[in-house]
């Protein structure tokens, strides 16, 4: 299953019949801009995620991730700036603390640890962003639907039709507008 879904595969979901619903939390200054870079560079990657931009990865407390699972997400990716690059100096260190808590709670709840991931992606790393997304999507696809997956969650975060798309086509366009103001 995992082998089929490589980054070069245009529509791996079709092979397995299961497209995971993934929530990606990205910080405004690095990871979201990294996604933007992936978009403007036209780097292909799997489209089964929805991005939520926060000002800093340090903001992502266990509640956010747990809420995503409660609402039926199959996987949650938390991403922020590399150490030393944080716009708020030490926000990503807080993110690590919060993520550790989340990991422990998720484990007790019986959700596989592989459904959550913490990654550092800088604004320049468009390729890295695409790689992480592809890897993580495959990883979650291999696990199958989350034990808390809900039928109605599909409607809430439905993947756009027509196979993989470029991230640059939606979402990040507002990032351009916002970034212009800074």
């Amino acid at each position: 299953m995992t082998q089929q879904a490589t980054s070069t595969n245009k529509n791996p979901g079709a092979a397995t019949g299961f497209d995971p619903r993934i929530v990606v939390f990205a910080c405004n200054w690095c990871s979201y801009a990294g996604a933007d870079t992936a978009g403007v560079s036209r780097i292909q990657h799997q489209p089964h995620f929805r991005m939520i931009r926060v000002m800093c990865s340090g903001r992502i407390q266990p509640a956010f991730v747990l809420r995503a699972f409660e609402k039926g997400a199959d996987g949650v990716l938390v991403s922020g700036c590399h150490f030393g690059d944080c716009h708020y100096i030490f926000g990503n260190e807080r993110a690590v603390e919060q993520f550790e808590k989340t990991r422990n709670v998720v484990k007790i709840l019986g959700i596989e640890e592989e459904r959550i991931r913490l990654e550092w992606i800088s604004a320049a790393e468009g390729t890295r962003f695409a790689e992480v997304i592809n890897e993580f999507t495959d990883q979650v696809r291999a696990l199958g639907p989350s034990p808390f997956a809900r039928e109605d969650a599909i409607e809430e975060i439905e993947a756009p039709e027509g196979g993989p798309c470029l991230t640059g086509e939606h979402g990040p366009s507002d990032a351009d507008a916002d970034a212009g103001g800074n």
Binding site: P62, E70, F148
Partner: protein, 376 residues
């Protein structure tokens, strides 16, 4: 609304205002007024159930105890919250609602929890069937959520097993146990509570247990008072660990423990909701070398930890906690003993205060830990 007023005896209110005068959050300076809610209920003002302020109530039950007309305000607020919840008004949950998410996930079923990581090899437990069911509560989750407090609330749970083992009891400790639903019920989410209650009652019924023993005051309250309709006539006795220990006190073999001067924080669920005041004191009295110094307010008059249902946390709550810890320190005790893990969590949070933290810090232990440390 009329029925609600009758059920909770709100009709009997003669507007004396004692409830608001005793309310810990009103005393701390909030404009919260139980009296106003009772009055609105009597006047049939449905809009009272649209007030987010309903979730400010600690549900500690102090006003219930003081009310001269025996109005059951705490049950009233529970029902009003259910109405509010149905109208999509929810508490501004502290911790971002993380704990509510966990509880709702448990209510929805889903995954096999990995909640028994704390069980040591030297603790004897049964996975499925037995005469005594130890209802562990959610201490393992609290420890995972609040590592910064340096607490080990799960130590109380472990100690409970140890104490039961010493009495020759091999309790059922099940990985299938789910949250008792206490907090969701008090947040107004009855549907999720029902799902949890049904699962849990079924689990205990299938174990063949005659008695459910729990070291958690909230679980004890919920099992004894709120699970009634789901028991379906099943004869299951519910006891807080301290009550069970009092019953079996003749078999308890204790030597001189390590703790000396202690004071006891009455969990509101135990003292006021269930009326269990003496049992924890009798248990502490039985431990040789333990000297109990009561706080100026104790028993049914004791202040609560101000965070009972994960639905409220504000400066008033902090003030209540600091006040309580000052009382505890004033007794000269070295250890604050509680019988509910949530008291520990919330009082530990108050101790994190950077300005007065040192002044109010005191070691906390569960009553089960005190007994376990004195076992022969």
């Amino acid at each position: 609304m009329q029925q609600l007023a009758k059920d909770t005896n709100a009709w009997a209110c003669y507007d004396c205002g004692k409830c608001t005068a005793t309310c810990p959050i009103a005393r701390a300076g909030s404009d919260y007024s139980p009296r106003r809610h009772v009055l609105a209920t009597n006047l049939g003002q449905e809009e009272i159930a649209r007030e987010p302020s309903l979730f400010a109530c600690l549900t500690c039950g102090l006003c219930d105890v003081r009310c001269p007309a025996e109005v059951a305000y705490t049950p009233l607020v529970q029902k009003l919250r259910e109405k509010a919840f149905d109208a999509s008004i929810q508490p501004e949950c502290p911790h971002g609602g993380a704990l509510q998410s966990v509880m709702r996930m448990m209510a929805s079923g889903g995954a096999q929890q990995d909640r028994l990581g704390w069980l040591d090899d030297d603790l004897k437990t049964e996975p499925k069937e037995g005469a005594v069911f130890l209802w562990t509560g959610c201490t393992m989750y609290y420890d995972a959520f609040f590592p910064e407090f340096g607490l080990a609330t799960v130590a109380g749970t472990r100690a409970a097993v140890k104490v039961l083992n010493s009495l020759g009891v091999t309790p059922v400790v099940s990985a299938e146990e789910r949250c008792c639903g206490h907090d969701l019920l008090w947040n107004g989410d009855r549907a999720s509570f029902e799902a949890l209650a049904k699962h849990n009652v079924e689990l205990v019924k299938n174990s063949g247990a005659e008695v459910v023993v729990t070291p958690c005051a909230e679980c004890a309250r919920t099992w004894r008072m709120d699970y009634e309709p789901y028991l379906d006539g099943a004869k299951i006795r519910v006891q807080h660990l301290t009550e069970y220990l009092v019953e079996r006190s003749a078999d308890l073999r204790l030597k001189n423990g390590s703790t000396a001067k202690v004071t006891f924080q009455d969990p509101c669920r135990l003292s006021r909701h269930l009326g269990v005041v003496d049992a924890p004191r009798e248990v502490l009295d039985q431990v040789p070398g333990v000297e109990l110094n009561e706080m100026s307010r104790s028993g049914t008059r004791g202040a609560c930890c101000a965070g009972g249902t994960w639905s409220n946390c504000d400066r008033f709550a902090k003030q209540i906690q600091v006040g309580r810890l000052r009382e505890a320190k004033a007794t000269g005790a070295d250890v604050l003993v509680t019988a509910c893990p949530k008291c520990q969590v919330h009082l530990a949070c108050a101790m994190k205060d950077s300005k007065i933290g040192n002044e109010i810090s005191i070691e906390m232990r569960d009553v089960a830990e005190v007994v376990a440390s004195a076992l022969e």
